[in-house]
Symmetry: D2
Subunit: 335 residues, 4 copies
């Protein structure tokens, strides 16, 4: 159960609601986000919600049968849009494109990527400065100095930044230089990280776990939202299956299913979804027509020389072709 | 290695090639299909193919590194088109739509379905008369009488029939009444059935196994082709994974991968691919933009009353909307 | 619901029961096996079973909530034992060992294998004469002549034969020369084959599908049983997962789960379960302590020269060591 | 390549080796652990290792073809034993049992559990005070106060403690009160956590990821070892597959495979491996005969009332029976 509170509810009124809920055998969690104040009630018994609904200080009360509550469309049917400023909005019905290299490598690379993005009307750049790598001996990214360098150029060009945060201590370090914190597939259930991201006023994109279920992804989103942050989006990036002809199996089904279950924007990552450069385009287009609110993919001046993930990275020409096709398809579906 | 033989090769010339290949430690399999005569050579040592290529009776020689040979695009780069007659061609660049109920139920159902298909320019109807069912106590289909009834109506309306064959003895029984034999997901590796289907002059569509790999699907196709039947197409219908939010996980990646690996047409089955009626449309559109040559999906006058698979079956209005959107998307991509 | 009928029930009495069941909205299937006559009732409404139980000609009535009925332990709590004659019984509390090559290759191989088995007190030999192979160009087995040759030797030595049947037409061909028909992992849901195996009076072992669920395996057993054959056992042989360090993932959990769900004997196949010769022993022992009624594994004089599956085949010394350890472990658990 | 350094190598000698390796196109990582000093060399070209081996300050040089180096058995064939003090050693050939509740709940529970363990000769107790939970609204554990309470009792009783650490900041908080830090299945690839655990002088057990590969688990171990901590063990706890008859699929194959690939002790967790109380025993026994160095399982005075995981928790009587059977089986295999 979700109880939306009046903005000017008194503490006394709030306590009265909590006590009432306790009498009804419901445990309540107080949630204060950028957009509103809520009480989330967890309990088993059904009761007439008017018993609570008529109490002072309450704006609205919703029964939510899903075990994840605040991210469910059972109470918020309309879709959440996330405004990053400067006219960059995710989830407003347009398609948000986020492109860039796997790893931030050097100034020149950032400059060329930004040129490519601007030439194609793309407003968001992706790139990693902290890289989770299976092997401890692999390149782990440029860290904060790389992020600052990138930020200087991106800010000047009006480009927004999305980048992966791997642990709690990096949140503060990265805060001033990113527009969206990305939670990677290996951290989808790093609950401490999610809790802390819930406390900041900055957009967050959570990637689905390497073999995470759709339900687990929604629960992870619930962690962030219930800790106070509504600026949330989710990302389908392929799952691990028995099939090894592709790096991952892009779960195209997850896109319409997530769109029905949650009001949060859904982003698709075709680069990781298939992991094969030549086929990123068809998978990207598939995600768009399946209903994705945005795409995040890897592009690099010379994929062959990329510090990581070159085998699934588009060059700028391929990226441009993809963007052109996406726009055609979007147009066709809008008619 | 594939050796394409001259149409008028003499038996003596053919034997000379087989002997030469044996000297080179290659085992040969003779293949005679509707379209050509081949020798498929299996061996390990590399040799200069001109040694064989210059022999009499040979039209062409191709090295094929894949372990499946005849279905590989390594020797036949162009795409195979299958002509079912009356202008119904699969794999010619247009999108082939095959729609109809899970099970053929009665005359009225067939009549209404055919009306719906004709009204929307669809030329092929799907339907099962032999139904593979997990439980022995479930409805197993109308059998040959149902197929004949269906055939009468379809023939009159100029509609082609695709229907599942479950065992060798059904091939002869069904032969006169179907245009395409469908091999179901539980029979993808029923090698005896594949062998026998290789001996008939009728198109065959092989569905990917319930958890079959892309490679296994290609090998199964090789069975049919090497037994003599080139009129072959493959179908992606979702795979079994840990995710249970959908019936299967539609492997959208398989579509571009299969299109690169084989010259055979690739059909997508969004009904089984996701298994949820409300989401068949986005998955179908995704398959189309990912490059499928055709779609096979379930539609029924009243899905709620269907004898099987109602939960993933479109009603005629939904089917019509889907067809309209497919055409828009196809048009957009052709520009 | 399972209604066990009196042996001397009259046809009239049986019809009366069927009519009564129909009135109660239950569809009945008549089942006559080697051991008994049953009516299997499928319906949704609960009713007082005494209404039926008091009718003439009924030995017993059982409610069975599982969707598979006859193979369920919900009605038959005791375990099924299968008597192959000459004192070879499967499922009587002892451990049945079935060992032998992947493929029957020649007389000498059979002779040496039988010597090995006899020297170690093993009473059953496995071997394939019809081999399901992914590629049409691979060795497909010696067929019936090979089976006859094997049979001559095995019979003389008092060794029972288990061998795979791949299609309906092979049942009659193989009938006189095998003691157990094996249904392979690719045919677990070949329902026509299962139906026909239900009609013969010969033991059947069904392997779990390559990625079959435990429930599907039980349904496949229900096909055979409901068609008339109670001499049935099931085999866990590893499932397909994302993990590629082993050929399959031996589902050790399936053994105790199957033992609880069904009264049929459960056999384990460690050779396919892990697919790596060096590790067949630990997996075999694990299956034994987990409760398997028998083991089926591959052994060959010279695994390096085996026509198929050599990489997972024990030599005779390894086989002997395994048998010795199995006996130690069995003894320890009986104390 | 692993270069074991002399204890009294001079800095100058070390630098000379690093320079030499650089000339050979090898990147070196210095590793200092509780037990030794190493240089790990990563490069592609093969060279005669005597070129390096003859340099001053080197104890030994090993070629290691695996990409994980320090945890590989390619250089250290003997097995690692971890001494926790007071005669509690893991990996010395005996079987280490670690049992206790999913969550630490209260003093009485700890007291009863310790009594049970002592009565059965068990020296290690498991229990969670920080619980990773899918839902933010679920019980998350007693935290440090609970750990301290537990520690008081365990210390007095001579019982060692293993407990899960979820984030870097908890390492210092928990340090004085645990004997083994457990890394949970959701944190197997939390590389920052692994890095930090590499810097402490306290044993670590890493659980395999929810759908982690065996190789990924070894890489995660390499993180800890290469950061300086050799007191490491790994735990198989079941993987996520399509089969839903059990909570996870215990990968019994992983036990012999890991034992061959790494010198670290391998622990098995049958409670999570199957997730069904009635079947924990057979799976535990299977793990023992498959070669596990230890078992970690859940036991509770009243599993029905446990704060978490009750459905897979043994009561004390069941736990006692399990221990008795384990000892029998161990004895049988030692003969």
């Amino acid at each position: 159960m979700i109880i939306q509170l009046d903005k000017n509810i008194s503490n006394q009124e709030k306590q009265a609601i909590i006590i009432k809920m306790k009498e009804l055998d419901y445990k309540t969690t107080e949630v204060t986000t950028q957009k509103g104040n809520y009480l989330v009630g967890i309990g088993k018994k059904e009761f007439d919600i008017r018993q609570v609904g008529s109490m002072k200080g309450i704006a609205d009360v919703h029964r939510v049968s899903d075990d994840y509550k605040l991210v469910s469309r059972k109470w918020k049917v309309g879709r959440t849009a996330i405004d990053l400023g400067d006219g960059v909005i995710i989830g407003d019905g347009s398609l948000s494109i986020m492109a860039g290299p796997c790893s931030i490598e050097n100034e020149k690379q950032v400059e060329l990527t930004i040129q490519h993005l601007k030439a194609n009307g793309v407003r968001m750049m992706r790139g990693g400065v902290f890289k989770p790598r299976s092997s401890p001996y692999a390149f782990r990214g440029l860290g904060i100095p790389g992020l600052k360098m990138w930020y200087e150029q991106a800010r000047a060009a009006g480009i927004k930044i999305i980048s992966e945060v791997m642990q709690v201590s990096q949140i503060a370090e990265m805060y001033d230089y990113v527009d969206v914190f990305q939670v990677g597939a290996r951290n989808t259930q790093n609950f401490n990280l999610l809790d802390e991201l819930g406390k900041v006023d900055k957009a967050v994109m959570i990637k689905r776990g390497i073999s995470g279920t759709i339900e687990e992804l929604l629960y992870s989103a619930e962690y962030v939202f219930s800790a106070g942050n509504e600026k949330l989006m989710l990302c389908e990036r392929g799952i691990r299956t028995y099939e090894k002809a592709s790096r991952n199996t892009m779960d195209i089904n997850a896109i319409p299913i997530l769109k029905e279950k949650t009001h949060l924007p859904i982003i698709a990552d075709p680069s990781h979804g298939i992991g094969i450069r030549d086929f990123v385009e068809p998978v990207a287009l598939a995600a768009v027509v399946a209903g994705a609110d945005g795409l995040i993919y890897e592009t690099h001046e010379k994929p062959e020389e990329a510090a990581s993930d070159g085998q699934q990275t588009l060059n700028f020409e391929e990226s441009e072709n993809l963007i052109r096709k996406i726009r055609k398809v979007m147009l066709a579906l809008q008619d």
